[in-house]
């Protein structure tokens, strides 16, 4: 709170003044001179008091601000935690594992679909853009074939197309591998 050096300097100054007073006390000194010295001592003491008061007030204000900041920060954290705990508590009673799995699936779906459309087919398998379209067409045809089979309808014409596309895909992949 106080600078040690300041206190030491002040003490030193007071000591010097006291020495002067002692010297003065032992000798003949005029009344005016004595008053002057006394006033000087009193002034320094008052300045010292004021300086102490100012420093104490400043330090206290700083400390108060720090405490308030910490208090508000703690209260804010408390409210936030309380809100989170309340939210978790509510969710814990209403959300089942299936819901979490569904959310996970919904979030992953577009990412995976995009991945299989581009990265995996083109990069991992090293096929061209045209082949990507052929693979997509093949997948659509497969879905149609499965649907027709489920419904007990004729699906041989699709099987023929599927076989053809499978051959093209296979040959293209082999070409890529060879090159």
């Amino acid at each position: 709170m106080f600078n040690k050096k300041e206190i030491a300097d002040l003490r030193e100054e007071l000591r010097r003044l006291k020495q002067k007073l002692d010297i003065v006390a032992g000798s003949t000194i005029s009344k005016e001179e004595m008053e002057g010295l006394t006033n000087k001592v009193n002034t320094r003491l008052l300045e010292f008091d004021r300086s102490i008061q100012n420093k104490v007030v400043a330090t206290l204000l700083e400390f108060q601000k720090e405490i308030y900041d910490k208090l508000f920060s703690s209260v804010e954290s408390l409210f936030r935690y309380a809100k989170e705990i309340q939210l978790v508590d509510t969710l814990a009673h209403n959300i089942k594992d299936d819901d979490i799995a569904r959310v996970k699936s919904v979030l992953l779906k577009p990412i995976l679909e995009e991945r299989w459309k581009t990265e995996n087919i083109e990069k991992a398998q090293g096929v061209s853009e045209n082949l990507v379209k052929i693979i997509e067409k093949r997948n659509t045809l497969l879905q149609d074939k499965l649907k027709l089979e489920r419904e007990g309808k004729e699906s041989k014409f699709i099987s023929g197309q599927l076989d053809m596309l499978d051959t093209i895909i296979k040959e293209s992949k082999n070409e890529k591998t060879a090159s």
């Binding site: 799995a101 699936s105 995976l112 087919i121």
Partner: protein
């Protein structure tokens, strides 16, 4: 009680595979097991009937799906895996009670 298994052995292409079951005149699907080659692979499973109704759906499976069911089946159904996080081999079985 007569249990008839349908073995599953498929490989995912572009994150999916599907196959049609034989035609059922009246059976119950009692258990479904689908396992990906890797324990961290995620996938969705659906079973669709002849009228394109999704009679079973289990999303967000990781590594394997093993569930006891009591699902009546009649006709041809499509068992499908979609949005698989890896193009890899899948194994498993459907246990039908006839």
């Amino acid at each position: 009680m007569l249990l008839a298994p349908i073995e599953i052995s498929q490989t995912a292409s572009t994150g999916a595979w599907a196959f049609n079951t034989p035609k059922f005149s009246g059976s119950d699907l009692r258990q479904i097991i689908i396992k990906a080659a890797t324990a961290t692979t995620t996938f969705d499973v659906t079973i669709t009937d002849e009228y394109s109704n999704e009679v079973y759906s289990k999303e967000g499976n990781t590594g394997a799906l093993n569930e006891l069911l009591y699902l009546p089946l009649r006709g041809v159904y499509t068992v499908a895996v979609s949005t698989s996080s890896a193009n890899e081999a899948y194994t498993g079985r459907l246990l039908m009670e006839e």
